[in-house]
Structure formats: C-alpha cells, structure tokens
Symmetry: C2
Subunit: 324 residues, 2 copies
C-alpha cells in the first residue's frame, strides 16, 4: 500500500516534473495558456518578457487554492470557536447569532445576515493578542475536519494549483495570496501549505493596537474591521501591500473580478478563473451559488479571452495524494 | 579626475568588499555587533541561528537611510508641489498654510501646526490616481535639490547603511523599509536607490478608491489618512505588511522606539540606533530636535545594550561617492 502511494507520488510529481511542470493538468488550451505565458514572460526577447523583479502573481484563496463549500472554512473555524468559548458566555444560549451556532441551526445563522456574521467574527477573531490568535488557529487546524470529506482543511488544497505556485516560483515569480479571508488566519498555514510566506499574504483584517504589558510589547486584536479585501478592495489591497501591478492573477468568483480587471490593465498579463464544474470530485457551482458566486466575471472572461479552468475537464486530480 | 573617482569607488566598494562587507565603517564595537549578529544568525548550530525565511530586517528611512534635515525631504516635495500648483489655486495666496509656503514664511508654516501640515499633505498627495502620483514624485526627484548640499535627495542616502542593506541581503535577509513617510512616495525610488522592492516598503498612507474610467480601472488617492506608520504604528504596520517578527531593526528616533522594542521581544535580535553626531559632514541633533528627536529611545538603548551608531566616529563617509 505504502509502496503504491510512493509510486503515485513519484508519478505525479518528482519524476514527471522534469518534463512537465504541471503534471496534474490535462493537456489542452488552458494548460497551454499558462505555460505559454510563463515561457514568454521569462524569455528575454519575447514580446511579453518581464524582468524578474516585476514578476508578481496573485491568487485568491477560497475556491481558488482550496475548497470553499459548503461554507468558507474560516466560518467553520468561527463556529467551532463559539462552541468552545460558550462555557464562558452563558448569555450566548439565548442571543443570536450565537444561539444558532450552538443549536446547529444554519437557517437561523443565515437569517442573522451580515450583521450576525460580523458579530460571530468579532467574538472569535478579536479580544486576544496576535500571538494568541495564531496559536488558536494552529491548534484548530490540527483537529478540525471537513464535514463532507473528513479531511483536514489544509489537505483540501488543489494539487493543480500547488503545481502552478511551484512552477511560477521556479520561474522567478513572487506568489502572493490576495484573499477576502482573514490575513492573520491565512498566515498561520500559508507558508507550510502553499510556500507563500506571511509577507506575501494580503487579506481582510481587524484593527490592531500596540500595548505594553509588564514592559512587554503586544499587539491586541480589536473588534473592529480594518479592511475588507474583497471586490473593489482587492486592487486596493494589492496597491497597499504589493505596490505594483501583478502580471498574473488567479481567482474563481465575482469577488475576484476587480483584481483580474486591475491586472488586465496591461493586456500582456495572465488572467485565470477557476470554474467549479466537478460535482463528483469537488463541487459544481457558479452563477447561483451563495458562496463563491461566479457570474459577471465569467461573462467578461469569455468576452475578453481570459483563461477559464474547467475543473472537471482540465484537472487530473483535485487534492494532493495523502499517505494511506 | 575621472580616474581618481574610479579608484575611490574601487577602494571603497568592489575590491575591499571581498574581505570587508562594511568598508565604510570604522572598526570597533558597533561594526562588530552587526557582523557578529549576521554571522551567528546565518550559521547553523550557532545559538542565534535563524532559518532563512525568518530573516527579516526592518529599517526606518528618514534619518536612518537618508538625511532628514533641515526638514523631512517629503515636506520639500509638498512645498514644491504647492508652488507648482498655485497657478490653479489663486485662493492659496491668502489661505494658510498655503500662503506661508508661497511666501517662504517658515515661521507661519510651523505656526499652522499639525492641522496645517495635514492640509498641505492632502492638497499635494491626494486627488490624483496612484499612477499620476508616482509620475509626479519621479519627475520631482529629477530636478529637486537639497537646500544645503545642492545634491539630489536620492544622493543623500547613507553609504554605510547601503552597505548594511547589501550585506544583509547577501546573507539571505529580506530587507524592509518601515517609515513614517508616505509608502507611495518611497516606493517610487526605493528599489533603485536601496534595492528594496515596492512590496517591501511599509509607510504612512492615504485612503485609495477603486474606480473605472471609460472601462479602465484606476485607483484614486483620497484626501483622508489611512494609516500613520510612526511610533506605536510601526509594530502595527509590521504586523499588517510583514506578518512576522523582524530579527533586526534599525532606527534613529523616538518614532522608532516601539519598532525596536517590538523586535526586542526576542532578545537574540539586533536593535540599532543611528545617532546623528556629525555636525560637520551631516547634522548633529538628538534630544531637542523637532525633527527626528532621539531621547527616550537613546536612554533605553544604553540601558538595554542596543547598538548605538556614533555617525562621526563609526562612519568613514556619509554619502556615496558621486562622479565628478
């Protein structure tokens, strides 16, 4: 069994890699558009050549690098935290949206709307130091499991996209995450899982305050939104954290539309959408989904010759192989 | 003459560099503290060894990497801009703080206080797109000259600090600027002058808004402060943009005090203050200066064994050699 697993790993990564930088991708126009772009961007003399210091690639996270169904994984984190913290908050038994969480009443949770969601996020993501928050996320990841696959969330990353990250970096690109999710939530695991260091993660954030406690500096997370890195916020986040134009952008929803348009200011750039078409191996959803809705960006992509990944057709596998 | 210049460059950089990574530094405990730190941080097995991905060094800019007297150079930029824009603003002739600028009345400008300064910054740093602002700064740098030295401002960078930046990067460090100055002002020239790319610049900022003009996305700079990257703001900026603890921090004023303390949470880190002691070759100022005041941080540094650079004693030269 272990021997078979090793063979699978070798076949899908190391050995094949020397010839094919994207072994989990089926051959076709999508795979070619990525490889052609990288080969020209890195070949001095090619029409779309880009010096190494300007090779910036940005990736959405939820639904682009890992799954996002049946709900954003960070929401599961918030739900698990509420349950864990409930013993110190007896009032939550009769207060929404906490009551909904404690009673596993998703209908009532959804009914609490954006305001409810914000309350949930603030109760679980603020009120502690930055170090404490990182520890909480790290501990949660060790035991939390996805409701459908029973996998650790960090194993529900897309193997074909891991290959793109590696391929771009091998070609002198700096890879950034630009996510609507929490910047400090992502930073805990993005380096281990994606090879993206904390300084290359852009995301939504709460305000943070410097304090000294017994002479020791700490940063305290406040229950107040600092920045929402979504839709029009994504180019703003890119400007703030990166300060130059990406030459490649990967997204999967209308929340990434402005980021891809911003990247497309220069027509020689690569704009890619992950289209979730694989109900069997992952999920199939687009225009009508509450999570990761892909509607306007999909039409625009087709009109403007952006690359649209058909997960079912273009990807040989979804998740990385796992030791049996 | 040119021959002599070439000899000087060779002597002070290329040739000597092979033996001495900091040729513009006089030998002594300050120079040794930097070299000892780097050698241990990069030697597996040494007590203060740090893996390469965690080698983050942060540098203040004004008074640490370039001069800041008789006023922050970015203030000269704002003043020059007001004079240039005045023809479209006849009302400025009788409105403070603009009148003060147009009449070269520094007393009245200082009297306008923080509120006046903010008005000056907003009038000159907002109301245009991010691209337009970068062009304005780039154009200004080409012709602007320092009132005392008549040098271009970007030639008033400290040669010994350039050597530290290069030395750290050669040893696998990522070097970041963490400045109270404007992030988008710095990003225009930091890569050329310091080798620090835009994505490694942290600074103060105005709010920015995404818009589409004739279908083309732009980011518009708004006359509203987004973030002040000074004092308690510096650890907050580091947390936001870098997301991990620096292991080396360089500053020169009480504005850098919290950044150095934050870095010092781990005692194995390097904390360095540039003390301006050289009235002849640069400027001498500390506790009583309106610009770059160094008072509490200096006392703390001496009590806690931080490295304090005595510019006059420790630096062989201040600015880089310039072709005659």
């Amino acid at each position: 069994m272990r021997y078979l697993f090793l063979l699978a790993v070798l076949a899908s990564s190391s050995v094949a890699f020397a010839e094919d930088p994207l072994p989990s991708w089926n051959d076709g126009p999508v795979k070619s558009s990525i490889i052609d772009f990288v080969e020209c961007a890195t070949s001095d003399g090619c029409s779309k050549y880009v010096p190494q210091n300007e090779r910036i690639a940005v990736f959405d996270n939820d639904g682009c690098l890992w799954s996002e169904q049946p709900a954003y994984f960070q929401l599961f984190f918030a739900i698990d935290r509420v349950k864990e913290m409930a013993k110190d908050h007896p009032e939550w038994k009769t207060t929404q949206p906490f009551q909904a969480v404690l009673e596993n009443d998703m209908q009532a949770l959804i009914a609490s709307g954006k305001k409810g969601l914000l309350q949930l996020v603030m109760a679980t993501h603020a009120g502690m130091t930055t170090d404490e928050f990182s520890s909480i996320v790290r501990d949660w990841l060790k035991t939390a499991r996805h409701p459908k696959t029973s996998k650790p969330y960090t194993e529900m990353v897309y193997q074909p996209m891991l290959e793109v990250l590696t391929y771009l970096r091998a070609n002198g690109f700096k890879t950034f995450i630009v996510s609507g999710g929490g910047i400090d939530f992502l930073r805990v695991w993005a380096e281990d899982v994606y090879g993206v260091p904390p300084e290359q993660v852009v995301g939504s954030s709460v305000k943070v305050k410097y304090e000294e406690r017994d002479g020791q500096p700490v940063l305290v997370r406040l229950p107040e939104i600092d920045f929402i890195d979504d839709k029009e916020g994504k180019p703003v986040g890119i400007n703030s954290h990166i300060g130059r134009q990406p030459i490649a952008a990967f997204g999967n929803s209308d929340g990434d539309f402005q980021m891809l348009k911003w990247t497309g200011r220069n027509p020689d750039t690569l704009k890619v959408l992950v289209h979730h078409t694989d109900a069997e191996r992952e999920y199939a959803y687009d225009r009508k989904s509450h999570i990761g809705r892909l509607d306007k960006a999909l039409d625009y992509a087709r009109e403007h010759d952006w690359t649209v990944i058909d997960m079912k057709a273009d990807w040989k596998r979804i998740y990385p192989p796992v030791a049996p």
